[in-house]
């Protein structure tokens, strides 16, 4: 694993420890993933090693098809690695899923169209047998957290894309997980909504102190949100470089216009383009 050249940018120190203690949220060790397809085997991930500390925000970035979503799905135990091992809070990924140690959000909000906003947020709680009164108060808190108080009784198709995604995020937080897995949750949103959602996510993470594994193909998004950005190479996906963000702890909108921010954007972009000509990198948005 190589580091960026500029001073300290590639160090493994976390500039913004979000929670005390040295507990790790996710440990990925030597993971390979091979998909069997009709036209033969496709190697999606090769020898991935990654450690996400408790409370840390880590983004996975790379060109389309580099396996960043696959890696997140492996951590979530939605797929199994071909070889290597994954542990989440010291347990197997499967046990962590069964214990509901993580919350998850996808690019599609995946709301159930026949349930109201409140009932959608309530879904994981009711599946896991949480008492009705507790559910009600928790749903109230979450709706407040994502700023949708006036929309609790609406149905998903009455909401904008950004609002639907906020519902999905509230749902992922329902059980106060210590780990959030997010697969391009803002990928389908327009730029302005997207920036607003990023700011909200920063605020929410500060409140919940959860570790986050965040898949994106937007460099500024990764830089704005993350403690560390994991840059992945095109298929077969490998960790090309891990770039630590040297940025202020409080991520406010002003940060987007600071020099330090642009420096980090440049660092990630260079890491992305390393080893492959700039023109051949596809599926990466540099906006």
């Amino acid at each position: 694993m190589t580091n960026t050249g500029d001073d300290g940018a590639g160090s493994s120190e976390r500039p913004r420890p979000a929670s005390p203690g040295t507990a790790t949220a996710v440990t990925v060790t030597g993971v390979d993933k091979v998909f069997e397809t009709r036209s033969g085997q496709v190697s999606a991930l090769k020898r991935i090693d990654l450690i996400v500390a408790a409370g840390e925000f880590v983004s996975l970035i790379g060109p389309s098809g580099c396996g960043k979503s696959t890696l997140m799905r492996l951590i979530a135990d939605l797929d199994q690695p071909t070889s290597g091992s994954i542990s989440v809070f010291g347990k197997s990924a499967r046990q962590a899923r069964l214990d509901q140690d993580y919350g998850i959000a996808f690019q599609q909000s995946g709301l159930l169209p026949w349930r109201t906003v409140a009932a959608n947020i309530e879904l994981p709680l009711s599946l896991h047998g949480v008492a009705a009164s507790e559910r009600k108060s928790r749903v109230g808190e979450l709706i407040e957290l994502v700023g949708l108080r006036d929309f609790a009784d609406r149905y998903p198709d009455q909401l904008s894309g950004g609002m639907q995604q906020r519902v999905a995020i509230a749902r992922s937080l329902a059980e106060k997980p210590n780990l959030l897995l997010m697969d391009e949750p803002f990928g389908a949103l327009d730029e302005m909504t997207r920036e607003r959602m990023q700011s909200e996510l920063v605020r929410i993470c500060a409140e919940t102190k959860a570790a986050v594994v965040f898949v994106t193909h937007s460099i500024p998004e990764a830089v704005f949100l993350s403690d560390r950005v994991v840059v992945m190479s095109p298929r077969p996906g490998r960790v090309q470089q891990i770039v630590s963000m040297q940025l202020a702890a409080d991520r406010t909108d002003g940060l987007r216009e600071e020099h330090a921010f642009f420096d980090m954007v440049t660092a990630v972009r260079e890491a992305l383009h390393q080893g492959s000509p700039v023109s051949s990198v596809r599926g990466v948005e540099n906006r």
């Binding site: 135990d77 899923r97 069964l98 509901q100 998850i104 599609q108 159930l112 026949w114 879904l123």
Partner: protein, 257 residues
């Protein structure tokens, strides 16, 4: 979401078909009286209406007999169709077993079974007709339900797996609600088929008294106005079934917009 309708749009929706119907009936009356079509071949609407007034009680009781056959067939056929689809969607072997049978049922004209079933279950039994209606209802309910049960979105499946939900929880939370609109479409198609099948099955013998039987005897005795009156009752019966299933569907799915 409630979309503000143009004022008068609702009225136009009701009025338009009524106007068309009145115009067609007027033209019919005109062609038969002025155009010199033999009243024996095509009775005037006025003549048919006169007969309707005269035989209304008989139309009602005949409609009740045919309607009950169709209803029993629809309820039992739809119930078996839904259960079979649930079995086929959860157990592959059952799917492989049922699929060819349903394909065979879908391509044979089920009404063709009526004479056979009438003979099997005796000339004084309604069972043959109910069975024909049930078979006719089974096919669209089964096919649509099975289709609906396979519409679950990948993102919903991932979500339920992430929640470590059990299979019955997945069924209740995601699979069944996703399938519901498809099930109701199947039932709506089946409701018309059940009425048609129960009615036509009466053309092939068995106990008298149903609408189909009365249409065929009236036509056979050249009482064409009476035959048309029973046809009218059959149309009303079919419409009633269709509207009833539509109302149940609206009621069941009203919580979605």
């Amino acid at each position: 979401m409630t979309v503000a309708r143009r004022p008068g749009a609702g009225a136009a929706r009701v009025l338009a078909p009524i106007v068309v119907g009145a115009v067609v009936l007027g033209l019919w009356q005109l062609v038969v009286t002025v155009g010199g079509v033999d009243d024996y071949l095509l009775p005037r609407p006025a003549a048919i209406l006169a007969v309707v007034a005269e035989i209304a009680p008989s139309m009602l009781s005949a409609g009740a007999i045919t309607g009950l056959n169709a209803l029993l067939g629809l309820v039992v056929g739809a119930a078996i169709g839904i259960l079979a689809a649930l079995a086929a969607s959860s157990i592959r072997v059952i799917d492989n077993m049922i699929a060819p049978i349903v394909t065979a049922l879908a391509v044979i004209p089920i009404v063709a079974l009526a004479p056979v079933l009438n003979t099997m279950f005796g000339a004084d039994s309604q069972f043959g007709r109910q069975a024909v209606a049930g078979l006719a209802a089974f096919v669209p309910v089964f096919i649509n339900t099975l289709r609906g049960l396979r519409q679950t979105l990948p993102v919903h499946r991932d979500l339920m797996r992430a929640y470590a939900a059990g299979s019955s929880q997945v069924m209740r939370a995601v699979t069944l609600p996703t399938a519901a609109p498809f099930v109701f479409t199947g039932i709506r198609i089946a409701s018309s088929l059940a009425v048609i099948s129960a009615l036509v099955a009466e053309y092939f013998g068995g106990p008298r008294g149903g609408l189909g039987g009365l249409i065929s005897t009236s036509a056979a005795s050249s009482a064409y106005a009476r035959a048309w009156a029973y046809v009218l009752a059959a149309i009303v019966l079919g419409l009633a079934f269709y509207l009833a299933t539509l109302a149940i569907e609206r009621l069941a799915l009203r919580r979605r917009s």
